[in-house]
């Protein structure tokens, strides 16, 4: 099936929200993605599992258009994002949330300003009252209602993650990309963040791609796991299917 036909097929089958077709990306001599293909369906939570440096972060940055793939096609919400202009890509991005590994909260802004930033950029016509209401609601959703006037430097690691999550969901995205959401957190906070991911996914009916090494988090959030090994989709399945895989390279991830 050629790519145009595939696109028409996706438009008809609107359950597919992200489709990657033979994506390749290399940095110098290091080829991190080799003919990587996958699909994400509406409401689905997929975990990408792989070793450090295997190209997982590169993969989701390609999906949101922060990194351009060398070849291959990336369709997000029925748009081929490698072939569209800046204005168009901003429109697609307004429907995607991205939770950065480092949280990426703006140090010079308060929590409220951090949350208002995407609203003011994507919803320019929105009234002040409505913006305030959305900020309060997003903070309440992550369980930190009284932090609006604090600076990011005054927050703990777990609180920063929650605020970053609040900023991610404030535009009510259809897809959320999580880059190692529990890295650097204690086990209790990590579990709370994992539960929050599942809860927010249900509440806003979002589809998610989660990158994680934290097997407790993977177990809690994954409906499907894709093993990224040698830049390819090495194997995919549910947590239990992969845990019982006969392949040594896959099973190693699930050993206690």
């Amino acid at each position: 099936m050629n790519l145009q036909n595939q696109h028409i097929q996706d438009t008809v089958n609107s359950d597919i929200v992200v489709r990657l077709e033979k994506v390749c990306k290399s940095f110098g001599n290091n080829q991190v993605l080799r003919d990587f293909s996958m699909t994400l369906e509406k409401g689905q939570n997929i975990v990408i599992l792989g070793r450090s440096g295997s190209g997982k972060s590169v993969l989701i940055k390609c999906i949101i258009g922060l990194i351009k793939p060398d070849s291959g096609v990336i369709h997000v919400l029925q748009r081929n994002i490698s072939g569209i202009g800046l204005h168009e890509i901003d429109k697609v991005r307004s429907r995607i949330g991205f939770l950065f590994q480092s949280n990426a909260l703006y140090d010079s802004m308060t929590v409220r300003e951090n949350l208002e930033f995407p609203l003011r950029r994507h919803r320019r016509q929105m009234e002040e009252k409505e913006v305030n209401l959305l900020v309060e609601k997003a903070l309440a959703n992550v369980g930190l209602p009284n932090t609006a006037d604090m600076m990011p430097s005054e927050l703990s690691g777990g609180m920063r993650k929650r605020i970053a999550l609040a900023r991610t969901i404030i535009l009510k995205p259809e897809i959320i990309l999580y880059d190692e959401p529990t890295t650097g957190l204690d086990p209790i906070t990590a579990r709370e963040i994992s539960d929050l991911i599942v809860e927010l996914g249900r509440k806003y009916q979002t589809s998610s791609i989660i990158i994680s090494h934290d097997m407790n988090c993977v177990k809690r959030v994954a409906e499907k796991i894709i093993m990224l090994i040698d830049g390819r989709c090495y194997e995919e399945g549910t947590y239990e299917q992969l845990r019982q895989s006969g392949d040594e390279a896959v099973r190693k991830f699930f050993e206690p």
């Binding site: 922060l66 995607i96 949280n103 140090d107």
Partner: protein, 254 residues
């Protein structure tokens, strides 16, 4: 050796591309005017105190240092005229620009560098904001506008320092001092010295932003970017000053 030369040429090429990108972005629709005003406050107003103190000290010191030579030649009366020309034409613009390179250039380099390594610039991009327009274009414009303003303040305060310097050993009235200062200064002294400070400001802004925006190697890279921003922009201030003097000379404004 050839490797070093290649590195320098590549860096110059990258800075040129970055500068062209600045002009491309700045003249496009949707300028971040509010952010630019905010940067004018942070970069300009917050540097005013430092610039005023250094301007005052330079005026005072240059006057005290120049006095003995003029006394030796019996030309003590020329002191206000002589120091005003040296301060306004050369010393104050260059020293102020160097202070701005140290304070503003390193600040921008470190701020944008840390934003880069903590993915804040990426976060801005996915929030529907062109980070180059929001962070770079606003800062470069703000520094380009603020450095000349700071130099004008520093000029005034250094001349006041000169007045106190003259009165330490001698005696001159307020009115006579300013009459002599204004007599010896012409538009040919003031205008080129102000015009060149726009270029100093632009160089400080663009180098600070370039170094910060292209930071690599994590937090170690942030320190390196801040440091390189100061070194390169200070060097550029001297090079631009040399070019400005040549142009002024060619136009017979000296």
């Amino acid at each position: 050796m050839s490797q070093n030369l290649k590195g320098i040429v590549t860096e110059i090429g990258d800075i040129t591309r970055f500068t062209l990108r600045f002009f491309g972005v700045s003249f496009r629709k949707g300028y971040e005017f509010k952010e630019m005003l905010r940067q004018c406050f942070f970069l300009g107003y917050k540097s005013l105190g430092l610039v005023i103190i250094t301007g005052f000290i330079i005026g005072l010191v240059i006057t005290i240092q120049s006095r003995p030579t003029l006394v030796k030649f019996g030309a003590e009366a020329w002191l206000p005229g002589m120091i005003s020309v040296s301060l306004v034409r050369e010393i104050v613009p260059v020293i102020t620009a160097l202070i701005c390179a140290g304070k503003i250039g390193s600040g921008i380099g470190a701020e944008l560098g840390s934003m880069k390594v903590t993915e804040q610039i990426d976060a801005m991009e996915v929030s529907g904001t062109n980070p180059f327009k929001y962070l770079v274009a606003t800062r470069v414009t703000a520094v380009t506008l603020m450095v000349p303003l700071l130099v004008v303040f520093a000029d005034a305060i250094s001349l006041y320092g000169g007045y106190l310097g003259v009165n330490l050993r001698g005696s001159i009235s307020w009115n006579l001092y300013w009459a002599q200062v204004l007599d010896s200064l012409s538009f040919g002294d003031i205008i080129p010295s102000i015009v060149k400070t726009f270029f100093f400001g632009f160089a400080i802004g663009i180098i600070g932003c370039y170094k910060g925006y292209t930071t690599q190697r994590g937090t170690e890279g942030v320190g390196w970017s801040a440091n390189a921003a100061v070194v390169i922009s200070s060097l550029l201030v001297f090079i631009l000053d040399l070019v400005a003097v040549q142009i002024t000379d060619l136009l017979q404004l000296v």
